[in-house]
Every structure is written in structure tokens, then in C-alpha cells.
Symmetry: D2
Subunit: 348 residues, 4 copies
């Protein structure tokens, strides 16, 4: 696809940490081309390179550096917009765009739990996309992707749910600093330290999976009823959320059956060969010490989840660890994959 034939896209909240990751991932994207960037009043009118405090370790793409930032008003030429807006403003702005007919793919929490908004993980619930047809947005729509700590866990759980049934899930997270945005966590608070609390995180992790694993029937998403308990901690890791997970299954299964379920797992994004989809959504590591954030977070474009240490549990059935990249798979990359499946399936 030549540059001219690509679908033009805009980014809302382009200067924030998620906005930057969108830019990194959309640079050289085969289908989409960034043509517009929106941010707060403070940045509007400036060249992007002058408005942003670029924090990624890949250089700011030249073709984006000289785009003039606009305010977040629904008068963009691109019909598809990615939102990395802060949740303090995302709600209203995203609605305003949708009402004007834009396709809004959002990483913000505001509309995740709206009844007619899909909370989409393309490998898990692509059928939920159908619900956007019930949205009352004049042809526009809002599609959301889950919280960064949810997405790794639900990917690892999906094959267990499908093959063995899930009754209860217990999870304790050790989450990376980039999940708090920039500047986020002060260095004085986290070097030689752990913070056993992340505001609002545990409720998300206990509720979002129920919707994601919900059944789409008669134009409604009926939530799943797994019981979940979550405890969330911040640790001194730059990228990559690590989670200790315990599960109670509906069927008695062996360790080998679970590993096989993970190994065999492949879904629509893989079949459709979406550009941002991992070749394989789940990798299991046999070494006791694996996975680790620094070593495995970038696996398969940072879009796969890594699992390890699967073993019997005295209180549940099994316990294991899951790792996923919180700003790739867990934020901008996840949202981009949502847009790709929307395009591939004709929603865009």
C-alpha cells in the first residue's frame, strides 16, 4: 500500500506517554498514516517536536516531528482517531468525536464499562465489536481496550476458560513504572522500594475481565461470573507487568493439558494476519526463573504474553506467572490491534 492509499489517522492526546507510543507504533504502519495530532490547548499551534517531551528510546519519527498540533476538537480530516487522552478529559472529548462520526479507538478508562462499548481484546472477544452498531453516535463509534494490567492476564486465561472453564482467579501484580505515565512515579518513591498500591487498579482488574469474557447475545454483552481478587503493586521496572496468577478450573486437568492449551492458542488476529498481531499470543517458558520483564517484554513485537512456572496450587488448582508489555500490548499496541481488526472485518 503506498503512502497515499493508507488510511489517514489522528491521535488525541498525542503528547502524553500513550500518545507517543501510538506515534512510535504507527510510524511505518502498512495500513495507517498519521496525519493529525491533537493535544491540550497548551500544545496546540506548536510543531509536535516543540510541544512534546519525547521519552521513548526510539527517535521521534521525522514525518511526525513537524506536524502542527491541534486542539482536541472534532474537526479533523481523519475519520479514525486513537485516543491516549488522560481520563480526566477523555470521556467528553471521545463522545464529542464519536457524535461527529469519528471512529474512536481509546485506551482511556472512561467508556470501557459503557453497555454499548466493546472492551476489546482482538484475540478474545472480536465478536463484541458488533455491539458498536447499537451505539447512538451518528455513524461514529467508540471502541476501548482494557487496562494494562488486565490485558496480559486475560490473554493467558482465555485458553483455560475455553478448554477447562474458570471458576476463580487470584492475581497479585508487580507493575512497571511506565504504566503511571510521565512523569508518573518519582524516583525518590521507587528506587530501593515497592509501593503496595496503585490507585483504581484493583477494581479494574477485578471487573474488566468479566466484560471481556462476556457473551455477546441479542445485541448485549452478558458478563461472565468468574470470581476475581486482585492486589496491585508498583515495582522498580521500566516496562512490563508481571503477575502471579492462581486459578480454580471447572475441569480437572494436567499441567501438560494447560501448556498445550496455551501453545495451541491462536485467534482471529493471527488468522487475519493483522500487522500488529503477535505470531503467537502466548509463549510458555520452562525455566523456573522465566519470564522476566527485561528479557521477555519485547517478545514478538511486545505483543505476546509470556507465561511460566505453571504448578499445582494447594488452595486453587494451578498457579503461574504472566508477563506482558504494558505500553505495547497493554496500551497503544493493544488499541492499534483493535483498529486493525475493525478494518479487516469491515467496521472501518
Amino acid at each position: 500500500m503506498s503512502s497515499n492509499e493508507k488510511i489517514p489517522v489522528g491521535i488525541l492526546g498525542a503528547t502524553g506517554s500513550v500518545g507517543q507510543k501510538f506515534i512510535e507504533l504507527l510510524s511505518n504502519h502498512p495500513w495507517f498514516q498519521i496525519v493529525e495530532l491533537s493535544a491540550s490547548e497548551k500544545s496546540a499551534g506548536k510543531l509536535y517536536k516543540n510541544a512534546v517531551n519525547w521519552i521513548l528510546s526510539t527517535p521521534l519519527p521525522e514525518e511526525v516531528a513537524n506536524i502542527t498540533v491541534q486542539e482536541c476538537e472534532p474537526n479533523l480530516k481523519s475519520k479514525l482517531v486513537f485516543s491516549g487522552l488522560d481520563s480526566s478529559v477523555a470521556g467528553g472529548i471521545e463522545e464529542a468525536f464519536a457524535k461527529k462520526g469519528y471512529y474512536v479507538v481509546s485506551n482511556s478508562k472512561n467508556h470501557r464499562m459503557d453497555k454499548d462499548v466493546p472492551l476489546l481484546v482482538p484475540e478474545i472477544n472480536p465478536d463484541h465489536l458488533e455491539i458498536i452498531k447499537t451505539q447512538d453516535y451518528n455513524g461514529g463509534c467508540i471502541v476501548t481496550n482494557p487496562n494494562c494490567s488486565t490485558i496480559g492476564m486475560v490473554l493467558a486465561l482465555k485458553p483455560l476458560l475455553d478448554n477447562f472453564g474458570l471458576e476463580a482467579v487470584n492475581v497479585v501484580t508487580m507493575q512497571a513504572l511506565s504504566g503511571a505515565g510521565y512523569p508518573g512515579v518519582s524516583s525518590l518513591d521507587i528506587i530501593d522500594n515497592v509501593i503496595p498500591y496503585i490507585s483504581g487498579e484493583e477494581p479494574k482488574l477485578e471487573s474488566e475481565p468479566l466484560k471481556i469474557f462476556g457473551t455477546f447475545k441479542e445485541n448485549k454483552i452478558i458478563n461472565n461470573e468468574i470470581k476475581i481478587s486482585a492486589q496491585c503493586n508498583r515495582v522498580a521496572v521500566l516496562d512490563g507487568h508481571m503477575e502471579c496468577v492462581q486459578v480454580k478450573l471447572k475441569k480437572k486437568v494436567s499441567i501438560e493439558e494447560i501448556k498445550k492449551a496455551w501453545d495451541n492458542f491462536s485467534s482471529e488476529p493471527q488468522k487475519l494476519n493483522l500487522p500488529t498481531a503477535p505470531l503467537k499470543p502466548i509463549y510458555y517458558f520452562e525455566e523456573d526463573k522465566y519470564p522476566q520483564p527485561r528479557i521477555h517484554r519485547n517478545l514478538d513485537k511486545g505483543m505476546a504474553v509470556s507465561t511460566g512456572r505453571l504448578r499445582k496450587d494447594p488452595l486453587f488448582d494451578y498457579k503461574f506467572v504472566v508477563l506482558s508489555h504494558n505500553t505495547n500490548r497493554g496500551a497503544a499496541g493493544g488499541a492499534l490491534l483493535c483498529a486493525e481488526i475493525m478494518k479487516a472485518k469491515g467496521y472501518i
Copy 2:
């Protein structure tokens, strides 16, 4: 007590990280005086200051610096010895000392599960000390203290066990680097990283509490039967093990009742006013973000445990976090407190 009247003590494994902590804590101790240091053949014959790679941030006490290190042979003048020996050699050496009539207070794992050896936390099971009378060691004895990840948890659980009864405990740890000894964990393995595995740690955390909480009856320790599941992780923290704990209790209780049980908890070391005992064994913090390793690990001489974030749990009854200093409360300080209670109660 003048220096001459103090009880002379020796340290086995004096150059290791636990050995160094013993020296730090015994410096200026009101009852005990270090007079002998033993270590491996490699160090024997050298002045301590030349044999040790001192890693603590308090200076090496002058009166210890010039003691000549001896081999770990049971021919010391001190009848009381503290063992910080590596578990690869601790078993045999400690036995050899006990058989020659020494009182061995050990931080090593080797004899912890011996039927006639107390696994002692002075605030919890001081009555277990009585079992040393059944040891077949010609007047000597072996007393052990638990693993560094066990001790914080059992202290926080003890008031719950006593007041409400415990059915099940689930724990996920984020453990400090000093728990691995020196040089221990390579910096290349842990900066910007988490390691979801610590060799041998989970079995200890699942089994040691059963003995500690056991009943001493007819010269036997009968293990408790709480069900425990543990998952252990290494994080980039120098000192202080953080643990996310969930409990199923035998009684229905309120949050306030649990806080009150913690707040009221006080035990023999406090009544006996032992020099190394914390004034208060358990501190609860109301702030969501507390406790934290860097801020609270040194609380009350590093001998108290800090708890926080007590809240209802969807799968168990309650969940909360516990923090304790792994080399003070969890190793050398814990062992020292064992010796103090032995002295106070006439076992020495």
C-alpha cells in the same frame, strides 16, 4: 552489666552476610560480648578486618576488627554460638558443636524441621523452647529461627490465629536482595527487572508456619494444619520483604477487630523487656501507600513488622500487606532475640 560480666559468644560463619549482621547487632549488646569468630579455612588465621568484605553501611566495630578468625571447630571458649553458616555446611558443624555442649542458635535451614529442634519466634512459640530438653546433645542444644520470608508473615498472622482462627493463607512475596546473601543476585539480573523464582523459598513458606504455630504437648510439637500457598519473587529492593497476604478465618470478624488484634498484640519478649525485642511487634498503617520497604523496614530497631491495606477479599476473607526487615527481624536479629529469651527464661 560491665563488659567483664557479659556472656561471651562466638559466631560461626562470621564473614558471611548474616555473620556480619550478627556482629553489627551484637556490638554494644547489654548481655552478650563477641569474643570469638569462626569462618571457613580460607579466612582462618587472619584478622577479621582482613578476612571480611564488610558490606554493611554501619562501620565494622573496632573491637571486632582485630579478632583473629578461627576455623569452625567446636573448641571455642564461648558456650553460646550464633550460626550464620551457609546451609551447605551448617548441618554437620552445628551438630558437632551441640554434641560438645554448645548452645547453637542458628539462622540456617538445616535443622529447622528436626523433630526435637524448636523453630522459634519468641513472640509466637516461646513454649517450644522446652523441647530442647529432649535433644540428645550432652547438654548442648540447637535452636533455629525461621526463614526470612516466613517470620514477617507469621508475626502478622499470630494475633489472627489466636483471636479468630486461621483456615487458609495465600501469600505472594516481593523479596529483597540481601536475602540472597553476598554477592547473591547479579546487578545485571535485577535492575529494571523482577525474578519470579527463589530456589527453595516457596516450600519453606508453606511448611515452616505449620511448625511455628504447632502445639507443644507431651514433649512434642504437633504441627498446625492451616493450608498455605506461597509464590516468591525477587525485586530490586536492598532490604525488606514485602508480602501480599490473604486469609480465610474461622470466625466472621470486622476490619476493626483485626486492627485491634494487631494493635493489642504483645508477647513474652515485650514483657521480659528483651534488649532486641521491638516495643510493639506489629504496626498498622492507615495510608493506602504504606508500608514500604525503604520507609518502614527499620521501624522499632528493624524488629517490628508493618502491616497495611487491610480490606475484604472476594475469594478469602481479608487481604493485607506485611513488611519486615529480612536481615534484622528475619535473620540475625531474630536469632539474637531467640538467644535473649533463652537467657531470660533460664535455658542458658
Copy 3:
């Protein structure tokens, strides 16, 4: 001195990181008693414990926790005030207090270079205090202490200047995060990283020593004319500035003569036995790997400087490293020592 006989003091900027350190150091001070706390409008009217985000690892002193914070207006009862104000507001507020007759001891940069304001390091230039008599402040005065990166270096240089003469000084710093205040440096910017720039730091380090080492004559401070070059870096250390220093001396001297000059150095704060003065201002370490921030920053109440690695230099005469605690010796502790010498010498 009973609590009633202590000199009442106030703190300006009490909620900031330097303000907190003042509170920590003034708790249980033998001469001074905190009675008033001032901060921004936002905090005024609140109890201190509710206004502050306490970041130190020692607990907030109880007697301070319940003081009601006031605005920074010159209507305090305490005549002596310590200023930890941000430099964006310190200039005017400090002047306003001085004009109303307050003794202002400030850690802010604003008035450091005023001709009639001493830039005081009590071990180095206590005679400069005399210049406050020329201040036009209706009986009040302003006294400043130097930047945190300056103070360690000048203490190590002072004995060289006095004994051998100094021609040129080259310094490269590796500075701690607490020097940037709170929240200061984002964790995303410094974990696994170095930042080779600290805004405004190099000019301070190149100019402040000239005034500190200046001669007080005929009511004027005549600057010294040493040539100084500074390069400043931020590293992932919580507390403690490390500096690589090279010196060109006026006399040829041996390594032993320099070590002896450091070892013999003692000054008025030591003679006057000031409560916050280190017993010994400079400690030299023979081990190649010393000093180190984590190990030596708290030496002698965090008020001493540690030196090491003294060796011949191919371009200058000698090179060595200096370490000092940037918020104790380098900020609040340094300012407190200024107030102590003012009191001891009758300026207060």
C-alpha cells in the same frame, strides 16, 4: 536546656523536601524548638500532618504533626526562621522577613551572591558572618548556605587551600536524586540511566567557592580567584553527592601531606562543640572502592565529608573523590549549623 528555655524557631517552606529535613533535624534539638511552620497558601490553615506528603524514612515527629501551617507572612513569633523555600519565591519572602527583624537562615540560592550576605560554611568562613552587620534590614538579617554540590567540595578543599594554596580545581559530579526535591526526577528518566545535565548547577559550583573562600576585609568579602571547571550529572542514587576532583596546588606536596592536612582539619564548629557539627569534618578512606554514597553518606550524623582515592594526576597535581550527604550536610543540616554558630558567637 528545658523545652521552655529553647529558642523558638519557624520554618519557611515547611512542606517541601528541605523543609521536611529541617523538621527531622530540629526534632530533639538541644537549643532550638520548632513552634511555627509556614508554607504556601494551599497548605495554610491545615494541620502539618495533613498538609505534607512526608517522604523521609524517619517518622514525622508527633510534636510537629499537629502544628497548624501558616502562610509565609512575616508575623511569626519566632525571631529565627529557617528557609527551605523554592527559589521561585524565596527571594522576596526572605527579604520581607529580614526587613521585619527576623534572622533568616536560608538554603535557597536567591541571596547567596548578595554582597552583604554571607555564604556560610561554618568550618570555612565563620568570619564572614560579621558582614551581616552591614545588612540594611532593621536588625534582621539573611544568612545563606551554599548549594549541595558545592559544600562537600569546599570542605575537602579548605585544608588544601590553607596548607598548600589552590590554583585550579576541576570537578565532575554524580549527584543524588534528593537534590532535585520532590517529586523531582521521574523514575522513567533515571532508572538504568544517567542524565548529564542539572539546570543551573555548574555555574553555582564554579562560582560559589570563590565567595566562600573569599577574604573578609573592611566589611567586604573579596572573592578568591581559583579557576574552577564543573560538570554535573544526575545518577540513580537517593542521597549523597559523589564528586571526582582534580587540583593544581601552589606548593609541591606529597600524598601523605594532603592526607595529614585532611586528618588534622578541625575548625570553629568543632571547638565550639556545636550540636550538629561533625566530630571530624573530613574522613579519608584508604580502600580503592571507597567512599560510596550508600555506605558513607550518613557518617558522623551525615555532616562529615568522605574522601578517597587520592593519587597523582597527569594533568593537575592530584585527583581524589569526595562524598557528602546532600540534604544533611548539603542543605538543612548545613543551614542548621549556620544558625548554631550564629547563636554560639552571639549573632542571635
Copy 4:
């Protein structure tokens, strides 16, 4: 070039940290193909994947994983061998290979200062390669690349030397942990810390540039006579050595002339389009806060050096910072580039 046509190569010290980096960089190399791996007796006979503790964040290449490790005896089929051997054994083994006719390209320090061995930085002194003809090794040869802290600095200095002449260089380093090998520096020694000493590093940094910048004349390398002073520190950074450099030049030049000299610098590896050569050896960053290890170390395949903060110096002429990747450009990547230029110029 098909796999069959590639030059077969062996790696000496294949399990060490430099050996692993050689494997990473040689995987998919267009000219060279790893066919043999040698390591210590302990590893010999095992499959590589079972012998190695793989520490890199890219996965162990499959085609290498199943090679059986051999002892370091000069009976390999590959005539070209890369040595990542520890210096405790490298000297003799490398000689033994060279004497048997092997081309040894070494990252070890042992032969760097041998009169007939080139200390090669392909962008700087490719003509020195000619000296291998004077080696007395039966057709074999030894070629070395410099120490990891030397190589970044000399690349930044080369255009200054060529255009303006160099009289004196002062350097203070902040070096990454990977430079110490694996396990290298204990986490307990470097988290929240700086170590102001690296054994043997300063002498290398003060002497190696003199040979690298030497003149090759009449089959001899005549050392340059720049005066250099070096101070080396270890900081909590995984990869990437940062250096604060000051220079005294022979000509008066402007800042713009220096930037231009850096920008224009290009050399034989660029002209020959060597596979591992950076497109541009030196990148200058205008932002005060740049370069930074985490952000710029991987620039241009990790083979470029980044400079920044060029400014006038009160004691020398100019000061600036240099950053380079210590295990890519500074070790295995640098050695690989040596082999590539040897091949391109017909020495292999």
C-alpha cells in the same frame, strides 16, 4: 551470500558475556557463519544451550543452541576466531591459535600493547592492520580491539585530533554494569550507589589512546603523545558508558567548527559499507539533557557514539559528554567490525 558461501568462524570463550554478544551479533551476519564454539573444560562436550547461562534480552539463536561446545584448543576448522576469553587465560590461548595459523580477533586486554599487534578501531587506524605482517605467527595473526571505555572516547576525539590537534584530554567515566561481565557487580553493591573505582580501568584509558592514535611508519606504531588523565566510576546502568571529556586543542576553534568536524566524520568502514559499521560514527545532540545511556546506546545498531553538551571550559578549551554502547561498540561489535575490515581489505 548463501549460508554455504559464508566464512566459517569460531568463538573462544563462547559462554561468557562477550562470547554471548558475539553470538547475538553474528546471528544472520551476511559474511560470517558461526560453526564452532569453544569454552572452558567445564562446558566442553555440552550443547551450547545447556552450557550457557544466556543473559541477553534477544533469544539464543536456534542454529547456535545445539552446537556442541569444544575446549579452547587450536584444532578448529574455522580459520577466523573471535576471542571473548577472560584475560586470566586469553594470553596463552590466543597465542596458541595464532601460531597454528588462525586469525584471532580479540576483545581481551592481553595482547593489546604487544608491539606487533594492532589495537584497532576501524574508523581510526585501519592502516595499523598492516603491522600483522610483522607478526611471527606462521600465517596466523592477533588483532585486538580496545577497552570498552576507550573506544567511545577515541571515536569522539579522532575528528578533533585530525582537524585541530590534541594536547591534553581529561576524562571522568560513569560506566555500565555489563562492562564487568556476568555475574560481575553484585546488586547489593550498586543499587542506590556509585563505586568510584574499576580495577585496571584508568591505566587503560590513559594509555590505549596513545597507541590507537599512533603513527604507522616503517612497520612500527609510534605512539601519540597526548597527555590523558582518567577517573573511572561504576554506576547503576545496564549498558552504555557515559564520559565527561575535556580537551585542550592545538588550534583555536569555535564550537561550530567542532560540531562540523563531528558531523562530517566518516571513514573507511563507512566507505566500504561494512555490515556492522554505523552509517554515521558520531551523532551530536543539541538538547542539554542528551545523550543518555538508556535512550541513545542502541543508536545506529549500537555502533555509533553520541556526543552532547559541547561548551567552553575554564581550564581546558572545551568540555563535552560522550556515550557509547560498551558491549556493542565497545566489545563484541567493535571486534566484529575489525574482522569485517580485515576481510574487506584482503587480510583474511
